[in-house]
Amino acid sequence: MTMTMRALLGATALCGLSAGAFAESITVATVNNGDMIRMQGLMSDFNAKHPDIQVNWVTLEENALRQQVTTDIATGGGQFDVLTIGTYEVPIWAKQNWLSPLNDLPAEYNVDDLLPSVRGALSVDGTLYSLPFYGESAMVMYRTDLAEKAGITIPDSPTWDDIKAAAAAMTDKGNEVYGICLRGKPGWGENMAFIGAMNNSYGGRWFDMDWKPQFDSQEWKDTVADYLDLMTNYGPPGASSNGFNENLTLFQQGKCGMWIDATVAAGFVTDPTNSTVADHVGYAQFPNKAGVDNHGNWFWAWTLAIPASSQKQDAAKTFIQWATSQEYTNLVASKEGWRAAPPGTRTSLYENAEYLAAAPFAKMTLDSMNAVDFSKPSVQEIPYTGAQFVAIPEFQGIGTAVGQEMSAALAGQETGDEALAKAQALTDEEMKAAGYIQ
């Protein structure tokens, strides 16, 4: 062996050794939302506490994330050590044994502080599979100045009749002010999130105990008729292509009297740098149909989970505990103020006087989240769990296909009854193909 060869081999060995002494790196797959971006900016705190763990971020669009992460887990690719997933995926993926259980959390993590509704949604048979980073329900956000001008008050817990009356009173199409802005863009997580929750609050359900779709029920007919009525008479033009972001923009520009959507929107519409109506926003609970004890049962949380395929379970666990801890909430508050604290995960946040003072929407957010029952989103008997969605793998496809019919009805391409008939037929077919209905 020549000297050069020996030297080279020695150098290679040294490289190998020194690489071993370096930090273990974990890869976190995440979505691009404000809270996750804020966390990336606060990583110096984590790095100082855990210099032996280096965190790499992969930021993806929501659907791309779902697709890439599912491919990776299903093929055992092991590219990711931490996943940012929602309440829809957690129970489904946990049942597939794709996620590592998180039973043995240390006492200082204070797992009992997690909101019961959130903890319930992230557990399967009593085992926790994911830690919540932020949670949301839905509520009514309305313009207090417009309501005053129209001479109306919106009760804290309005019915759909109240909403319709308020929308009629606030609409002023000549000045481009529309009484109500609701989602119309097709998608299981877009318009069907809203229409699904609205149907819950009308006492409806997606499936009966035999998994037969229920679009031919009176509840669905009433839901869709009232939704179309509200949007056609008091909604903005072109609403069939409006999703969360489009409605947010309309509301921030002062064009909506009311907007019923995720509670997380409150943080955006009260942000004076982007919103022209920041000082004039009031809140009310998600409406219900008079006599139905259900406020939509809208529920979503972005959570951090560890795929069973990860080779770095311990480092990943250390990271997700830090990211969802009370300590992290305090860190955000100390750097950016309490208003920016990730909402909707821990009881202690809603007992914190400083937070309650800084976030006028805090109480309504908590009330809305407490009203949620993930195990039974409808007042009727149902075979599924869920919220504004049904927690079965087939729902993404079904929800989006039904959403397209609803969006077409809103655009005036078909009637509400036609849309429901098509929804009934296509869901029936899908459920038969998937083996739920014999």
Binding site: N32, V58, T71, L248, T249, Q253
Partner: protein, 276 residues
């Protein structure tokens, strides 16, 4: 015979050319303008054209949030690596097809092109599984090889058409003068084919640079190129168009500049062929 061009006609032609160019360029221009707007202005209706507070804030935020260097470097390695690797295979292949014509050459060419007709998603899972098996997911090598394979039919076809236009007589004359195969390719064929090779090279660098299906699906962090950089800025909640535009500009600017500098070469290669 060329027609006489009156000054009036020339003006009309120039105006028409400018209008067409502006229409084609408008989306890019709009992206560039949006990248300098604050987020609420980016989605304002009616749209704001020039009258807003111009700032580099979006660029600053984008770089601060995600960095840029590693994505850029991965794009460079993958785009140029796959093209050069492709050329090494395609030049001899195209040479053989152009000058040593066999009875099945045409079928072979069509068969190669037909692989492009299959939707890429159809082979995603097999390629993904192979990558998992060889532990090559999220590596530059994997992306270089996969993109080379995807673009190879196009490279061969382009080179084949350029080579076909070189008269065989010239090559035969070289052979008569005693040139070896190596000399023939290096000293006779290549100089004549340079414009064609250059435009093939450039076009494929652009194709590989902009490729998003494979680069998004087969990378996570280590080999993630600029397509992944842009994709990360779309957001389900909150405004993002201005930041997304800034990220897009940063992704296409390098390739746009490269295109500008090599415009002459590219146009010559695409329109004139090798020896016309």
């Amino acid at each position: 015979m060329a027609r006489a061009v009156t000054p009036a006609r020339k003006t009309v032609n120039t105006a028409a050319a400018w209008i067409v160019a502006l229409i084609i360029f408008f989306p890019i221009l709009w992206t560039i303008l949006t990248s300098f707007k604050p987020e609420p202005v980016a989605v304002a209706s009616p749209p704001v054209f020039l009258n807003f507070d111009w700032s580099f804030d979006n660029y600053r935020t984008v770089i601060q949030q995600r960095g840029y260097g590693q994505f850029f470097w991965n794009s460079v390695v993958i785009a140029f690596g796959s093209t050069i690797l492709g050329m090494i295979i395609a030049i001899p292949a195209a040479w053989a097809m152009a000058f040593v014509h066999g009875p099945r050459t045409k079928d072979l060419l069509m068969w190669m092109l037909s692989t492009k007709m299959m939707p890429a998603a159809g082979v995603l899972v097999p390629i993904y599984l192979i990558a998992v098996y060889f532990k090559m997911l999220d590596t530059q090598i994997l992306l270089t090889v996969v993109l080379m394979l995807m673009n190879l039919p196009i490279i061969i076809w382009m080179l084949y058409t350029y080579f076909r236009e070189i008269p065989v007589d010239i090559l035969e004359a070289a052979r008569m003068d005693g040139a070896t195969l190596f000399n023939e390719i290096v000293y006779v064929l290549t100089p004549m084919a340079v414009p064609g090779i250059a435009s093939t090279l450039l076009l494929n660098v652009i194709l590989a640079w902009n490729e998003s299906f494979w680069t998004l699906n087969l990378t996570a962090f280590n080999a993630a190129p600029l397509t992944k950089f842009i994709a990360g800025f779309s957001s389900p909640q909150g405004l993002f168009y201005a930041k997304l535009s800034a990220a897009s500009v940063m992704a296409f600017l390098p390739i746009l500049i490269l295109g500008w500098f090599s415009q002459k070469q590219l146009v010559r290669g695409l329109t004139f062929g090798a020896v016309k």
